[in-house]
Each structure stands twice: as structure tokens, then as C-alpha cells.
């Protein structure tokens, strides 16, 4: 359903991604790992349209989406969360999610009233288990709540693919469980295809069914968690020896 074909991204003279190819089938739960600066977020940025690839293509449902602006890609059905949550601080919690419900999906669109969008937004807040007052402002939220809001907002765009960028970083033990549980639930109940960038290995390895490893912008391993964690090159580059 999502196919990344030989994508290269150059910043100035730096190769951030070198000929990365990846096929992700519908409903799969893929972990994307690699050391800092290995190009994971860059890959997300290319797929979500934050910037176009220097070379190569991204195909989604048989259509080339590379080079499209991010709002179009979102409406095609690819949503993302940001590594550093980006709540809109002068909108309420509910309104943040309403952005996703109103602008993110083609089915509803701007024609629907704010009331309907709000109703739906409250459902997504419920889905991620965010128990804050929806009329409060997201300026003094805990890291865990910010992640939940970020995910509710992305899921509210009714995507087919969710690009989750480090949804666990900076969370405590309980919050880890909540946040990873949301991804699991989104995959199981909503049938989302999820690509998940994460550094918290012990959680990621337990949930995903496939792990892709990037190092210096190159794809060095791709397989099920058990075999990838034994892969010599992956241990060398990222996991380290025990």
C-alpha cells in the first residue's frame, strides 16, 4: 500500500537518505529504528511531504505522492505525529483535535459544522484516553498527555497510514504503556498501517511485527524483531553488544 522507491535526500552536501526502498503492506505494524541522525525522521518528512525527496518516489495506493504538499498527502490518508509534540497552544484541546477531523479527511471536510466536528473530536480524545477537560488549553500538559493529544489529532484525520515519530520519548513507565497501547489499539481497532520510529527498544520489539533499521541514511536490515536483533550489522550500528 505504501511503497518507498529508492529515495535519496540531500541537504547541502550531506546525504540524509541514500537509496532507501521499503514496501509496507496494509495493516502492518512496522518499527523503524536506527541511531540518532540515521535518517528516520527525514524519511517521515519525505513521506509526509514536509519536503520532497532529491531522488526517488513515494507511491501510496498506486499513486505517486512525492512532491505533493503535506496537506494533500494528509488528505490522501497519511498522518504523522511529531517527535516534539506541536499542540496549537491558543486552541483548546478539543479544537486541536477538531483541526484533524475538519481538515484532515476528505469525507467530512470543512462543510460539516463545528458541532459535528467537536463531537467526533471528543470521541478521539476518548479513544486515546485523554481525560483532560476538552475546553482547557494545552499549555500546561504533561508529556504523556501531550503525546495523547498529538496522536488523537493525527488519528482524527482518519488516515490509512500513521507515521508515529518517537511517541514514547520522555515518558514515565505508566505513560509508556498508555502511549504504546494507543498505537496497538489504532492498528487493531481502526486497521491502521503504522510505521513507528522509536528508541525505547524493549517496548517497540514486543509490539511490532517487522523492524526496519537505518544507519547513515541507508537501510541495513529489514525483518522480524527476533532476527533483526541478532543481525550483526544492527548490533554493530545501533543495539550494541551485551
Amino acid at each position: 500500500m505504501l511503497e518507498i522507491q529508492n529515495v535519496t535526500k540531500v541537504f547541502g552536501g550531506i546525504l540524509a537518505l541514500t537509496g532507501v526502498s521499503l514496501k509496507v503492506g496494509e495493516g502492518s505494524f512496522v518499527g523503524l529504528i536506527g541511531p540518532n541522525g540515521s535518517g528516520k525522521t527525514t524519511l517521515f518528512n519525505v513521506v509526509s511531504g514536509a519536503f520532497p525527496p532529491s531522488k526517488g518516489n513515494v507511491i501510496f495506493n498506486g499513486q505517486a505522492i512525492s512532491g505533493m504538499p503535506p496537506n494533500h498527502i494528509c488528505r490522501q490518508g497519511i498522518a504523522r505525529t511529531f517527535q516534539i509534540p506541536q499542540p496549537i497552544k491558543s486552541l483548546t484541546v478539543a479544537e486541536n483535535v477538531m483541526l484533524g477531523t475538519i481538515f484532515g479527511s476528505q469525507q467530512i471536510g470543512t462543510a460539516c459544522g463545528l458541532d459535528r466536528a467537536r463531537e467526533e473530536a471528543l470521541q478521539w480524545l476518548d479513544f486515546v484516553g485523554l481525560k483532560l477537560d476538552p475546553e482547557s488549553y494545552p499549555d500546561r500538559m504533561t508529556a504523556g498527555d501531550l503525546r495523547k493529544l498529538e496522536m488523537a489529532r493525527a488519528i482524527a484525520t482518519r488516515p490509512k497510514v500513521l507515521l508515529a515519530d518517537e511517541v514514547l520519548s520522555g515518558l514515565n513507565r505508566d505513560e509508556l504503556k498508555d502511549a504504546s497501547g494507543i498505537l496497538q489499539k489504532a492498528r487493531d481497532e481502526l486497521g491502521l498501517t503504522i510505521i513507528w520510529v522509536e528508541h525505547v527498544m524493549h517496548v517497540l520489539m514486543k509490539l511490532v511485527e517487522r523492524v526496519v533499521v537505518l544507519n547513515y541514511g541507508m537501510l541495513i536490515a529489514d525483518g522480524d524483531p527476533a532476527s533483526v536483533s541478532k543481525d550483526e550489522r544492527v548490533i554493530e550500528a545501533y543495539l550494541g553488544r551485551h
Binding site: N71, C74, F82, K89, F103
Partner: protein
Amino acid sequence: MQLISKFSRSGLMLLLILLIMLPFLISSSYLTHIVTLILLWSFVATAWAYMARFGMVSLGHGVFLGIGAYFPTLMFNYWGVTPWIGIFVGLVVAIVIAAILGYTCFRFGLLGDYFALVTLAVAEVSALVIMALREITGGSLGYTLRSTGRLADMQFADKRVFYFMALILLIGAMYIWRRIDKSPVRLALTAIEESEIAAASLGVSVIRYKMMITLLSAALTALGGSLYAQYVTYVSPDTIAGVGVSLSVCFKAILGGMFAVLGPFVGSAIIVSLEEYVRISLGTSFLGLSQIIFGVSLLLMIIFMPRGIMGSMSMAVAKRLNRISARH
């Protein structure tokens, strides 16, 4: 919150009734003139704040004022085209110019201070263009509208007609403001202001919404410029185009509070009255005093009341109400 909105709604109604009655209550045509000016500038300042309250601070709205003022005036004087049509032409020209400027700025991601600087330069250019075309526009000496006194030429024996036109425009602009508040457009523009990339990743078309509000703001501003020119029957680059008037529009809105629907009105009322007061009481003995007062108060406002008079007032009221409700 409900209490506040009830208060402000009845306050608004009272103000509206007062403004409708005013020209019939006061016999002084001078006072009516001042209030007409207040309404006109409130309308323009409100249109300016459409953009500014979403972080698009334009220091070049004089361009649109100038286009709105000069097009119908010149078309009438040279070709005898009635301002009823000329205003429409000015409106279209203003929208086209705003589209070109806006798209260029937004396409290349010019934000905040950089956007303000570009618009400032454009305002200066507009005044220079008027002066360069002095054969047609009268240059910096300005240009007087030919007087016919005919209704078909938008000239009225009773100047109160302009008062009511300005009032209707202002109410219209405030109504649109409220409609924007209750529509997805507000969500989109607020999100865009804080993070264009986050907004876009949620499906918001950044350029489309910025263009929309820019064109609306420019069109209404041009309309204000047109009406101003028809009312005072005199246009000059100093009074209706260029940097000076652009900044004075900003200041009216900032003083009153550009985030509150009544802010630009309050700011315009204060500044226009003060300007008149200083002009009359001091005459020519201390030219520029009003500018000095405004300069200093602008400085103080930005430091101590960044949300303007109306913004600070509503915040104070909300705080007090919270305290009362907390006590019960």
C-alpha cells in the same frame, strides 16, 4: 463565560442603538463629522486586524486604502465614471494587488517581521507611485473630487448618509469577524500562525487560508479608502496612502486591542478624538504633539498591555468573575 457574553451582547446592542440615534440627537454637524471619521477608521482598522490577529501584521494597508481612494476619484474626475462603479473597480484592483503580494510572501514562507517589512516597503512604494504620476494624481499636493452634488455621483446634500454608510460597513465587518470566530477558518488560521508545518500535516491548506483572509482584509480596506475619499472629497498620499497612514491604522487597532472585535473601534475612537482635541486646543503652536503622545503611548501599550485596551479589560473581567465563582 456565559455571563460575559451576555454582558457584552447587551453592551453591543446599547452601543449600536446609541450610534444609530446619534446623528439625530446631536445638532452639531462637526461632532457628526468626527464620529463619521471614527466609524470609517474603525472599519479600516477592523479589516486590518482580520489579518493581524492571526499573526499577519501588515504595515502596508495604505496600499489598499490608496487604491480604494484614488481609483474611483480619478475615474470620476477624468472619465465621469460614477463612484458607484469606480469603488467596485478599486476593490477589484486591491484584490488583485493583494493576491500578487500575498501569494509571493506566503509561497516563499515570509513570516512575522519579514512579512511586516515587505508590506512596509510596499506602502512606501504606493506613495511614491502616486507622487511619480503627479500629472494624473496631483502628486503630493493631493487631488480634489469634482463636486456635482448628484446622488448618482455618490454625493449627498446630507452628510449623514456617509455616517450611516460607515456604520453599516463597520457592523458588517464586525459581523464577518464573529462569523470567522465560529467557523473552521479561525481554527485553521490559529494553527497556521503557531506552526505552519503542524497545520499542514493535519490537512490545512496553509496558503489558501492565508490568501483568503488577506484578500478579505485588503478588499474591505479598499472599500474604507473609497468611502473616505468620497466623504472628505480630497485624496493625498499623506492622508490615504503610504507608510504614515498604514502605521496609524495599525496603531488604532493595537491600542484598542486587535484580538477583540470591539478593539479597533475603541482604539479609533480614542485616537481620532484625541487628534481632534490636540489639533483644536493647541492649534499650530505645537505641531506634532499628538504624534509624540501616540508614540509614547504606543511604546507603553506594547510593554504593559500587549492585548490592547479591550483585550486587557476582558481579561481583567474574566479574572474577577473566576474569583467570584471560586468563592461560591
